[in-house]
């Protein structure tokens, strides 16, 4: 098996075993209702995680996604509820703003040659601050278009419901997988994460690709923000605080190397589902408290980082100076 597939296989196996074990304990978990809710409840996280996957494969990180989700929610809510703009137009505006925002971060990262971490940190402050300047409060959205969208449901046998946003997430994952694995842009993203110097010598347009990657991440975060506003029917400036950490965790647990170069968009899907399973299990159990979610995610994160370290030991970037203490 390919080296890069091993962490993904590990995630898939862990997911199957964990799910099977949970089902044995709580047979109720094996229902279309639970599965449908899996998709709906994690839709915004999943969409944001797709963008994060591209960023991490390229060797970067995007700390701004949670803030962009919050900002977009507020922007959309204000455009619809205060200014009376049709939701579709509001969506287009929000996605456009996010695209410019991501492009600005990408340009800064490439031309000032600074770590993506610090640039996207500034982006996070800017987006979160911007949202709070627009409004401090939660802005409800009551628009029939929203009702229509949330009403779009495919009923499954067994009482399950596939919601619009759940299906949208699945669509984003499929499109993301296509983009990553079947387009030149996708191959450039992997090339940057593998070795930026080689990539540029091989003719990869480094500047353009970098800008596109962060644009993609911000646009998907904005889409996640729209989904979140559909999910909650409101826009709140402090919504989705810390979602970037969940997204990063899902990406890493899904088998993407945090140092870049290797990874799968569909692996991230498994990662998101695994996080969802942990949460659902804890809700089902009833006696366990929600803080266990974070601990379990942390432990999984650690296991996968060490696993990757072992699998990729030979090719991991970093200081290779022969050093002995």
């Amino acid at each position: 098996m390919k080296r890069s597939l091993r962490p993904l296989a590990a995630t898939a196996i862990i997911f199957i075993i964990a799910y099977a074990a949970s089902v044995v304990q709580f047979p109720g978990l094996l229902s279309t209702r639970v599965l449908g809710n899996f998709l709906t409840d994690n839709a915004f996280l999943g969409i944001a995680a797709v963008g994060m996957t591209f960023v991490i494969i390229s060797g970067g990180i995007d700390l701004s996604v949670g803030a962009v989700i919050g900002f977009t929610g507020v922007l959309v809510a204000v455009l619809i509820s205060w200014l009376g703009i049709h939701p579709l137009l509001a969506f287009v505006i929000a996605l456009g703003v996010a695209a410019l925002f991501g492009a600005a971060m990408g340009l800064t990262i490439h031309y000032l040659q600074v770590p993506s971490f610090i640039v996207t940190l500034a982006g996070m402050f800017l987006a979160r601050g911007g949202a709070s300047v627009i409004t401090q409060d939660s802005v409800p959205i009551n628009h029939e278009f929203y009702s229509t969208l949330t009403g779009l449901i495919i009923r499954l046998p067994g009482g399950g419901r596939l919601s619009f946003i759940g299906l949208l997430m699945v669509a984003v994952f499929l499109a993301g997988a296509l983009l990553a694995h079947r387009t030149r842009f996708g191959s450039y993203v992997y090339a940057l994460g593998g070795n930026a110097v080689s990539a540029s010598l091989m003719g990869v347009p480094v500047a353009r690709t970098t800008v596109q990657i962060y644009m993609l991440s911000s646009v998907l975060a904005a889409l996640a923000g729209i989904v979140f506003s559909l999910y909650t029917s409101a826009g709140y400036p402090l919504a989705a605080v810390g979602v970037e950490l969940d997204a990063i965790s899902a990406v890493v647990i899904g088998g993407t190397l945090l140092t870049g170069g290797y990874g799968f968009v569909l692996g991230t899907f498994v990662g998101v589902m695994l996080l969802g399973l942990v949460q659902t299990y804890i809700i089902f159990d009833g006696t366990l408290s929600s803080w266990w979610t974070k601990i379990v995610i942390g432990v999984l994160l650690f296991l996968f980082i060490v696993l990757q370290r072992i699998i990729f030991a030979a090719s991991a970037p970093g200081e290779k100076s022969p050093e002995k203490v």
Binding site: S4, S187, Y190, S198, L201, M202, P322, K324, V325
Partner: protein, 505 residues
């Protein structure tokens, strides 16, 4: 030779960095269907010339001609469109991607805007079969040996350029079988009319596949020769600038009467790095190390210093058997080491001259017995003066100093630790004449004060002048130990070239 015969030509190419002339009016011509070896020690200007020929650097004077027409090459990608492809020593491909993608990245066949993997892999398979590679094009490049990666890199370069192939030390990390395989590929490409520049420091490889050789030294063109008319010894002499007839006795440093033995290495070696060697070093003795680049001379130095610890053999320091597992062990036993790559392994660019000088001594003293500022200034001042370090202030960042002064700083760093044994790897490379003389003077002075030293240098005149013995390295093995009358450039050149001459009659 008519100009029109050359597919790629450099005429009077000069490249100047600051006040250092890296290339001095170089003329270089490449014919189609030939393998042209480019030889020279580090700093001779090989890589600068290659960078000019591939557009990474722009020449300050002279020009590059492709098929007789003057061209301006903006960058390596632009050079590619002129038919010039390059494969570097460290394969500049993507180990994390498939073989097929590495061949076609940026030019992947698409269908409805999507990459057509099947078509790409089919094309890759056909292409690689021409190079005798029957590997799965969808496998990760990183899962293959360096040799295979090297051939994939060549296939990509030839596919995208097609006129000239520049191979920059492609064999440095290959074993014998892999080298042969690579040579078969090169021979095939040559037959198809490709012009190939081959850079290496292995002489037998030069003789095995090249038609002509150009030798550079200190940024100057030494000569271009037809290879069937020269011997290996001739080539070594061209590279090192030594006239083999020169063997008259100079005021040679007499071998010291065997006083106190300081160090005794017995079957000391490290797998895949240096073959086990025996070496005894006395106090007040300079052991010169001669050998071409890649002969294992630097590896030997790192081994002695514990930077790459030995995995076989024993070492005795001043009569006591000991173990050197790391650099800290070595330093505590009075060793010091000036590495060849000053910038990457020697200086702390952002730190001050003062800190750069005292850091090894401070390392020896440990975390808590800190030298205060006055002590630091005193030590740095003392050595700065003794070594004639030209710095506006001892508190200026060392990166602002010239190469020669940086080298003096590193030497001072070790002298401050009061070492018994110093290892100097190419201490005089790439520095100005004044600093050069100062460092040679220092080596002589230290030897007379009773310090033991191992000095690696390609400057044979210099090694001959201060060494009491000379060991010769070849193929990661110590092949000769020269004493007395044998310490002269002629014999050294002979020893370096020797086995190669025997190997191929």
């Amino acid at each position: 030779m008519q100009d029109s015969d050359y597919v790629l030509e450099a005429r009077g190419v000069t490249k100047i960095f600051g006040n250092h002339t890296a290339l001095d009016a170089i003329d270089f011509g490449l014919r189609p269907g030939e393998v042209h070896a480019l030889l020279g020690e580090n700093g001779a200007g090989k890589s600068t010339l290659i960078k000019v020929l591939t557009g990474a650097y722009q020449p300050d004077a002279g020009g590059v001609f492709v098929d007789g027409a003057l061209v301006t090459l903006d960058n390596p990608l632009h050079a590619q469109t002129h038919g010039i492809g390059t494969v570097y020593q460290e394969v500049n491909l993507l180990p994390n991607r498939s073989v097929a993608e590495n061949l076609y990245l940026g030019h992947q066949p698409t269908r409805f805007g999507l990459v057509d993997h099947r078509k790409m892999e089919k094309a890759a398979k056909t292409l690689l079969e021409r190079y005798g590679l029957a590997i799965d094009p969808s496998s990760d490049l990183g899962s293959h040996s360096v040799a295979v990666q090297q051939i994939v890199a060549i296939a990509r370069a030839v596919e995208l350029s097609g006129k000239v192939l520049i191979l920059d030390e492609p064999t440095a990390s290959l074993d014998r079988n892999e080298v042969e395989r690579l040579f078969e590929v090169i021979a095939d490409l040559k037959k198809s009319g490709l012009a190939i520049i081959f850079i290496t420091h292995f002489l037998d490889q030069v003789f095995a596949i090249s038609d002509r050789v150009t030798v550079l030294r200190n940024g100057r063109l030494v000569d271009t020769r037809q290879l069937d008319s020269v011997s290996r010894t001739d080539v070594v002499r061209l590279m090192l600038g030594k006239d083999i007839a020169f063997s008259g006795a100079t005021d040679l440093e007499p071998e010291r009467p065997t006083t106190d033995v300081l160090l005794d290495f017995k079957s000391y070696g490290r797998k895949r790095s240096v073959h086990p060697f025996d070496l005894t070093i006395h106090k007040g003795e300079v052991i010169g190390v001669a050998g071409l680049l890649g002969s294992g001379r630097t590896e030997m130095a790192r081994l002695m210093f514990g930077a790459d610890p030995a995995d076989q053999g024993t070492i005795t320091v001043a009569g006591k058997p000991t173990a050197i597992r790391n650099t800290t062990d070595a330093i505590s036993r009075g060793f010091g080491f000036c590495p060849e790559d000053r910038k990457a392994e020697g200086i702390f660019g952002d730190l001050s001259v003062r800190e750069n000088i005292i850091i090894a001594l401070q390392g020896k003293l440990g975390w808590f017995r800190a030298l205060n500022r006055d002590e630091q200034l005193e030590i740095a001042g003392k050595f700065g003066e003794a070594m004639d370090i030209r710095a506006a202030s001892l508190d200026m960042p060392v990166k602002l100093l010239s190469g020669g002064n940086q080298q003096k700083v590193i030497l001072s760093r070790w002298l401050a630790t009061d070492p018994a044994f110093l290892i100097l790897d190419e201490p005089t490379r790439g520095i100005d004449v004044g600093a050069h003389a100062e460092i040679v003077r220092t080596i002589n002075r230290l030897r007379d004060d009773g310090m033991a030293m191992v000095v690696i240098s390609s400057e044979l005149d210099e090694v001959v002048a201060y060494s009491s013995r000379i060991v010769v390295m070849r193929d990661r093995e110590m092949v000769a130990e020269l004493r007395g009358k044998n310490i002269n450039p002629g014999v050294i050149v002979q020893a370096i070239a020797n086995s190669a001459d025997e190997a191929q009659p």
